[in-house]
């Protein structure tokens, strides 16, 4: 295959897009501890791509047994086209499934504002270039109320300066340092970043007593693998 060097590291990574600001209309989903099983039930994960997951976002909250719509912001006409999700505390707790932010992204969400996020969820969002912005409980609740009353109003998230502007007002918010730098500088594609350090990776691997030489590409020969393989 062309484009791959001897170590299996390719040149095929394109630079990640810079995400300095996100703007659009909002959609509030209220409640603490909204877990990933709610965001996307496990039965919709029996797929080998993420395509088409958007329709299953919050599925069991949105539909009853007869597939009739229930009360949920994701069903409401007034929030159609919204791209800024506003949530409460510990959003995205539970499993590591990237299917959760993938489903939200494919539904149309570009940014999430909340009181707090589960770590793996926030990391998964970052890997998709979706900022997870935090603010105190009161700020978030006020914003949720504002969005509910003004579903067509523009919300502007300034990732770099950590602010959210809506209704002529600007409030302070927080974007974690690593996330802010990654998004603002467009370096959230960590495959490309880390793929540039091939030699240093091998050096680290060699320094670890539990890594046999033949487990490091290019180091041990296949013959050595047979002789020295200890696991």
């Amino acid at each position: 295959m062309s484009g791959i060097d001897h170590d299996g590291f390719a040149d095929g990574d394109s630079p990640a897009e810079q995400v300095t600001e996100v703007s659009g209309t909002g959609i509030p989903v209220r409640g603490n501890d909204i877990d990933t099983d709610q965001i996307i039930p496990a039965r919709f994960m029996k797929v080998v791509t993420f395509d088409g997951l958007g329709q299953f976002a919050f599925f069991d909250q949105r539909f009853d047994d007869n597939d009739e719509e229930k009360d949920h912001p994701f069903n409401e006409e007034k929030y159609r086209g919204a791209n800024v999700l506003v949530v409460n505390a510990n959003f995205g707790c539970g499993s590591s499934r990237e299917h959760a932010p993938q489903a939200l992204m494919r539904w149309g969400i570009d940014a999430v504002i909340g009181e707090s996020f589960a770590e793996i969820f926030a990391g998964n969002c970052l890997a998709l270039g979706i900022p997870t912005i935090t603010a105190d409980a009161e700020t978030v609740e006020t914003l949720q109320e504002y969005v509910a009353a003004n579903p067509d109003a523009e919300i502007e998230i300034d990732v770099e300066n950590e602010t959210v502007t809506y209704g002529g007002e600007t409030v302070e918010a927080t974007v974690s340092e690593a996330q802010r730098r990654a998004l603002v500088e467009g370096v959230w594609d960590t495959t490309a970043l880390m793929g540039a350090n091939t030699e240093a990776v091998k050096e680290t691997a060699r320094s670890l007593p539990y890594i046999p030489a033949d487990h490091i590409p290019g180091d041990g020969s296949e013959d050595a693998a047979g002789a020295a393989g200890d696991d």
């Binding site: 501890d33 990237e98 990654a182």
Partner: protein, 473 residues
Amino acid sequence: MSRGTLYDKVWQNHKVASLPTGQDQLFVGLHLVHEVTSPQAFGMLKERGRTVAFPKRTHATVDHIVPTGDRARPFGDEAAENMMAELEENVRASGIDFSDPDSGDQGIVHVIGPEQGLTQPGMTIVCGDSHTSTHGAFGALAFGIGTSQIRDVLATGCVAMEKQRVRRIEVTGELGEGVTAKDVILTIIRKLGTDGGVGYVYEYAGEAIEALGMEGRMSICNMSIEGGARAGYVNPDETTYEWLRETDAFADDPETFERLKPYWESVASDDDAEYDDIVTIDGSAIEPTVTWGTTPGQGIGITEPIPHPEDLPAEKVETARRAQKHMRVEPGETMEGYEIDVAFLGSCTNARLKDLREAAAFIKGRDVHPDVRAMVVPGSQRVQKAAEAEGLDTVFKEAGFDWREPGCSMCLGMNDDQLQGDEASASSSNRNFVGRQGSKDGRTVLMSPIMVAAAAVTGEVTDVREMKEVTVA
């Protein structure tokens, strides 16, 4: 910031570089792969024209969607068959070892790693599964990752991480009769909250933890994520080394064992290590613990009353109200006597040989309640085989349990093992989220394996300590 802890040392040993994002690039010592979260990552890899950088540090199995009944290929569920076929093709093309059902080594990824000796102290271990924290029981730094990070690890052998704080949780004293590791972790989560561990790694220590075998330590580390902590660990000690000595990795290779042991010892937290936080919990005060709600933090001792929502901190009131409505429980009452329809003994939290032995010892001479559907799903084919060699399968089957093939099963209901309608289950698994066990109206009560056994017999949540011993003729 912490200093001199196992976390600090393992981090430093695996640090490759500081990234422009402010994150560190960490080398991954072991990458575990399963069928649900990996296919998209392999797909992204192909799109970019990359290949797997460290196939020999990668190991796969199938657990989430695998049927626990008829496993003849093709699987009855077409979607499951497709996922299995995709995994087979991906591991074959990349030269990755695969513990498939034909190998006799298949099982839940967090059961097979430790039993094969893949999991070792001082390693960094990742897997696209939040319960990867389980492997921390061996003094490894182990955490769950998302699919884009799986792509990172496949492509580069590394993961990008921000360093976290370390909280030491000391569980003092001796656990009482009928109290297990599961009760300890449910108590920890209850006290510190489901988001109390966000930004932290948990170091579990103290006499009660040290006295546990590896299975108990795994149950505790397993549910770190339910407390918000992405990783949890126990410092390696003689208990750890005894387990490792018997595994495939070292049983026939004592030289490598002796060569690596000083490294394992070197990564344990120093006596004068500094922590960002220390929490002490009295282990002797812990009761058999069960959940009353729909988050793992909504737990209580079996003799304690279910809390009134309005007595809880403001931010927990609404969640508690919703949970009590869903579970149909009344504040002021205990969980004892809560009727169950299903008893599920399985999952990466509690489906190891010791869990099965303890439950079987209780079940022997008793029968499953006629209204209860009870099942045992061993954590791996090896657990299954060892249990069968001891006759545990017979004990369970004679009592009325269904004895099934290994997999994640009803923990998350991705195969046919699901709650129906509003069934209530006594479950040895790790999550009681609404819809978790396959039915959005299903009700899950988390508890230890022996408490599941007791509930299976009585048909209701039961204090195992109150059950009289059965004399078996």
